[in-house]
């Protein structure tokens, strides 16, 4: 009896599937419980990977609920690559689709924040622009375009995800209030950290990433978010070493 890897694979991920025939114990009996060692290795190792990848989600749900949720997730979305550092990309969407979790609407966005922190942690190293790179005449500032380091990550959420993240990772952090929050993740040396952006911050940075000038992106953002604070946003980017280049287009003379 030949056991193909397709049969083995199916039986591994489905605990209700029959154990493949042709697998034996030391006395040539059917392997029985011995097959469960592999089932268990797969489920336990991927569940542990999920706990490590999403510590705040685990804290919010409780470890037992996280075990249960991971058990369903890992069978629907086994890793698609041996790079376990990036496992769980589908987890926010998976949670958004779970009816049992619909009363905790912020979970998917908190998971996106945790994924973004991990992407930042493993992003390529790069040299930020010097602190005085933006020390140029005000009229030039608005014509400047910015390049960003690969470790920078930006998120917009309709939920207060920065406050929720902080409340669950920092002793004595204030209790989250209601409201949307934009988050900037910067990595000074090797430790990524989230920062709360002014309202409209994620929109403005997205404009710059699409190649807009500081001024054009500002006009567009301010139309939608009149309270948008350009100075505070630029300060966060500079302090976080998130800017690699400042390109100022000279007007034709």
């Amino acid at each position: 009896m030949s056991v193909s890897q397709a049969i083995f694979h199916t039986a591994l991920l489905d605990p209700t599937a029959a154990i493949p025939e042709g697998l034996l114990d030391a006395d040539a009996h059917p392997a029985g419980r011995r097959f469960s060692v592999y089932r268990n290795n797969v489920a336990v190792s991927l569940t542990e990977a999920m706990h490590q990848a999403f510590p705040v989600i685990t804290k919010l749900l409780g470890a037992q609920n996280m075990d249960g949720l991971s058990g369903i997730f890992l069978r629907q979305h086994p890793p698609s690559s041996p790079l376990m550092m990036f496992y769980g990309e589908e987890f926010p969407g998976f949670m958004a689709g779970m009816e049992q979790l619909s009363h905790i609407g912020y979970l998917p966005d908190v998971a996106r924040l945790e994924l973004a922190l991990r992407r930042s942690y493993h992003a390529a190293d790069s040299e930020p622009a010097s602190a005085d790179a933006l020390a140029v005449p005000p009229e030039d500032i608005m014509r400047a375009r910015l390049g960003f380091v690969p470790s920078m990550q930006v998120l917009h959420s309709d939920w207060p995800i920065y406050s929720i993240w902080r409340f669950n990772t920092e002793d004595g952090a204030p209790k989250p209030g209601p409201g949307a929050e934009d988050v900037l993740i910067t990595r000074v040396e090797y430790d990524p950290a989230p920062h709360l952006l002014p309202a409209g911050g994620a929109h403005w940075i997205a404009g710059l990433q699409a190649g807009q000038t500081i001024g054009d992106a500002f006009e567009e953002t301010a139309a939608q978010f009149p309270e948008f604070d350009l100075g505070a946003t630029l300060a966060l980017l500079l302090q976080g070493g998130a800017i690699t280049s400042v390109t100022i287009e000279r007007l034709a003379t």
Partner: protein, 285 residues
């Protein structure tokens, strides 16, 4: 078949340990850390950040062994070209002292299962594995070592013994072997064969590295002991005795302590490496 000039295992015949980031500072501060370190290849395939910075730093002071856990050499499908390219890149810039992988599969239909899954020892498996090893060695441009698995069950269809199977793979591909002595003990207990008999049949002259690790004890449906390779505790005495049995026959080898779950404080890991050094000191020169 690999060109002999590419045989390039440069690990010293001394104890090493599996590197864990929580030991970084202690390894650098310790007056006598260990002779060499082993890393899991897949943990250093990101684009940058702390893992790669630590690895660059450590590689300036220690011989590094790159141990892959995700290539799925025994997979029925073709090797993942992206993963092979990442491996080539890592081995290219790091130029490690040794590179090894497993006699196992872990990927099916682009699902990576994060475990080392077992293979039937048949002529068809042999042909496929040799083809994959040829491809790996040609791609990374150097010899690899192939590690024997821990077995919890046997395949009815197998027609080769594991030592003969490994010997034949090494003969056909020119790869070396990584002998995991704990895996031999675990498999021998689970499948009722003599671990010494396994070593007697095993081509020790092909061994470039030895692994030791801890295992858990369980039992199967019939009350038969079932040992599980967990790398989560000290190496047990019978495995140390089996290491002596190996070293008496093979001469000094590079011996690695693997401890991957419930990772202990550095001094406990260091004590296991000391015990490996004592075993090496007993080997007649």
């Amino acid at each position: 078949m690999l060109d002999d000039t590419l045989l390039s295992n440069r690990l010293p015949p001394a104890p090493g340990v599996g590197y864990k980031p929580q030991h970084f500072a202690q390894i650098l501060e310790h007056a006598q850390p260990v002779e060499w370190l082993e890393i899991h290849a897949e943990n250093y395939m990101g684009d940058g950040g702390r893992p790669l910075a630590q690895l660059r730093h450590l590689s300036e002071q220690f011989p590094i062994s790159v141990h892959g856990v995700g290539l799925s050499i025994g997979g029925e499908g073709p090797l993942d070209p992206d993963h092979l390219a990442r491996l080539k890149h890592l081995i290219g810039w790091l130029n490690p002292a040794s590179f090894s992988e497993h006699l196992a599969w872990s990927t099916h239909d682009s699902h990576f299962l994060n475990d080392l899954l077992p293979l039937p020892y048949t002529n068809a498996t042999l042909a496929r594995i040799c083809e994959h090893i040829d491809q790996v060695q040609e791609t990374v441009g150097r010899q690899m070592l192939l590690e024997n698995p821990s077995s919890y069950l046997a395949f009815e269809e197998s027609t080769w013994s594991e030592p003969d199977f490994l010997r034949e793979i090494a003969r056909r591909t020119g790869c070396g072997l990584l002998l995991d002595v704990n895996n031999v003990f675990v498999s021998a207990t689970n499948l009722d064969f003599s671990p010494q008999g396994y070593i007697d049949a095993y081509p020790l002259e092909k061994v470039g590295e030895i692994h030791l690790g801890g295992h858990d004890e369980d039992e199967d449906d019939h009350g038969h002991p079932l040992l599980i390779d967990s790398h989560g505790r000290e190496v047990v005495d019978p495995v140390w005795a089996l290491l002596d049995y190996v070293l008496e026959r093979s001469g000094p080898k590079s011996v690695l302590i693997e401890w991957d779950t419930d990772v202990p404080d550095w001094p406990i890991l260091r004590a296991e490496a000391d015990r490996a050094q004592a075993a090496l000191d007993r080997v007649p020169v």
